[in-house]
Amino acid sequence: MSSLARPLPHDAARLHVTGQARYVDDIPTPAGTLHLAFGLSEVAHGVLRGIDLSEVRNCPGVIDVLTAADLPFDNDVSPSAHDEPLLATDRVHYVGQPVFLVIADSHLTARRAARKGRIAIDPLPAILTVDQAMEANSRFEEGPRVYEKGDAKAAIADAMHRLTGTIEVGGQEHFYLEGQAAMALPQDGGDMVIHSSTQHPTEIQHKVAEAVGLPMHAVRVEMRRMGGGFGGKESQGNALAVACAIAARHTGRACKMRYDRDDDMVITGKRHDIRIDYDVGFDDAGRVAGVNFVHKLRCGWAMDLSLPVADRAMLHADNAYHLPTCRIESHRLKTNTQSATAFRGFGGPQGMVGIERVMDHIAHHLGLDPLAVRQVNYYSEAGGPSAPPPPPESISAKMKTEAVQTTPYFMEVEDFELHAITAQLADQAGYAARRAAVAAWNADNAVVKRGVALTPVKFGISFTLTHLNQAGALVHVYSDGSIQVNHGGTEMGQGLFQKMAQVADASFGCGIERIKVTATDTSKVPNTSATAASSGSDLNGMAVRAACEVIKARMAEGVAAYFGCDARDIRFVGGQVSDGAGREISFDEAAQRCYEARISLSSTGYYKTPKVAWDRIAGRGRPFYYFAYGAAMSEVAVDTLTGEYRILRSDIIHDVGASLNPAIDVGQIEGGFVQGAGWLTSEELVWNGDGRLRTHAPSTYKIPACGDRPDVFNVELWSEGRNREDTIYRSKAVGEPPFMLGISALMALSDAVAACGTGYPDLQAPATPERVLAAVNKVRRG
């Protein structure tokens, strides 16, 4: 039996629990390794007049200090628009922007010296807020992007009911436990070997090559593991790797850089915060006739990945709901703050909060159960062999007469599973009974109010930049029967390497102990996409399987020749290779015999996602190969005197298709939910009026701690899950979708606050105790 679909522990679990697992900062360094630190701008916007570095240079242990003028080639670390200098040139654009680079004999020496630089800046007016940016028309792209389906304005005007509102949703610091880190090892001829904590080794290779004036073939990037990524290491590691390479080229010595946590939080980009205005028309059942959204995202000073992030927010403005007419207007605002970047969900969560807020608002307005309003708006169930039919009493059954429904970007929703998932979750978690119990509790208790909410997730899977949907792998079978697997994906804790080993084992039937997945390496698999968009297993799994199947076919020929049978009869099972009629040799012996028979035991594999094609300007087409689904029900208790609250219980059913590894998938769901709930509750980023981030350490920025997760937490994989598309063993991507299950916590808080009076809570996010208290007071005023 192959290891596929078994709940194996993380491949490096033993190394982690014994402290042997190496991260970039743990790699033994060559003698004479130098350490780097950036000197940072203290001004949000201004003209750079001069930099006095004399005190920096005089610090004992400082080897050299570089400014933009000292850079030999390209001064850019942007992943997109070439608008992000490594070191500031004539202007500074945010508090925390790197201005000069200190090279010293220790990490501490470099950091202490960096504080002694005197940067002369003539301040300019800074654009910090959404309102300031809108007023100044400070934006990326020529104007707002607009996606439109039907005439939403007319539909809203003609609808029986109409509501308008606004929700502001804060950004989020990644807080990967391992901060950004990189090391450059100079080679002969000027070549560079780079160790970088990055989700995107190819991007590091590309930017380093540009910075040292060499072709990409002169730069090799190796990445064994990250201590967390969450999107924060898709582009934000570029600066460190490029700085190390430039300093290594300059000094001829190995150079290493890691951001101190405070520097990391001040320098690097975060999740985009967003303001969403909505205007919705609906009928007595809460069924939406039309909705108009205006998204305003603060993108920070440089473009980075903001365009596809904002696109994905638009692409998830519908979440699970069929919107007959819809208009989404998206403003990508340029502000003098950190350049907002990728973060788990990549804009999807922001878009989804908008429509979930609309559902919550409609239900409150009509006095209906919020879940009933959600269900009446669900897309039609796909039904068929992968899903049980919806229960006959379901409202959706009446809507099944409609042809395949389309999203606001005209993609047909062919694989909708949420009627069944929702029904099962509501049943298992006791939705109806617990809503009644919460109502009874709230009638009896004046101070502590409870709330409950069940919210769905439909998340589109594929890179929206279509050409990124490709992957490669390189597999070697050695003559002793051991196997080395390499692929373009990176390991950041999500268990990708173990899943890839399981995929290889499914081909060779050799036992997972024979398989080693090695560090991601740009010299083994070239031109890779970032491990992002939840795509790691989907893309790389198919590439790994393709490579394995090539070698397996060759081995079958070789063993068939040895047995004197037909290659089609050869089977690879249980560490044996057999002819199906009684003859068998061990996999190890088969490898040795194939080697001696001069059969190639190495192959690349390649995969590109079929079916995806769309026009991101028009907002039309099929950006996604398929959708991942899930639903969460959360119950909270709010102290209405202080605004403090607890999540009492969360129940989740999530669709991962046919799981490659259920233990890893459940772990992703648990972690994603808690991180998503953190985003919408306790994690608050605060900038002061000068544009300085005041929450730059865990002392002031509150990520969920052990006591913050729900008291009762039930997570289940959807038992009917099986991808309708031909993905790797019919599994589904799992990295990002569960993050948005955390929205149930925000909606449960809204429900609890609503019990305080007659007004709508209008709860903003993150729903810190302060905001909850404000909402309580608002509701009490009516």
């Binding site: 982690h16 743990d26 436990l177």
Partner: protein, 162 residues
Amino acid sequence: MTKITMTVNGKSYSGEVEGRTLLVNFLRETLSLTGTHVGCDTSQCGACTVHVNGQNVKSCTMFAIEADGADVTTVEGIAAPDGTLSTVQQAFQDYHGLQCGFCTPGMIMTATKLLENNPKPTEHEVREYLEGNICRCTGYHNIVKAIMAASGQEVTPVAAAE
């Protein structure tokens, strides 16, 4: 520079340190014991947790000089000399109590100390005890489960246990 001596994982080490050298830097850079991680630099995340004279200490908040003469245990010293994992280590592996693994050494050290002091903690006590150790990946669910299992108490079956 000051000469210090300490026992780390049962072996005696000496080294020259500056007064400002933190214990974590002495362990990582002088002794090459890189299993002790620096997560937040400010003694809040707990990735640098070690045992000093039998107490949990965040080693980024203690000077190396303060540990002169002390008995220090790091995550590298938890498994048996033959490599056999401790009960806590085995449970973290089996119950999927880790993802990226960066917080894991600190979690192992804290959990080990908890079970020394309180061999059968309630789930609530586990949560309270872990307040100083941050994990960004797992949502803590399987960490708590691993510790409950390591204490010999019944936990719901976890998929990762083979």
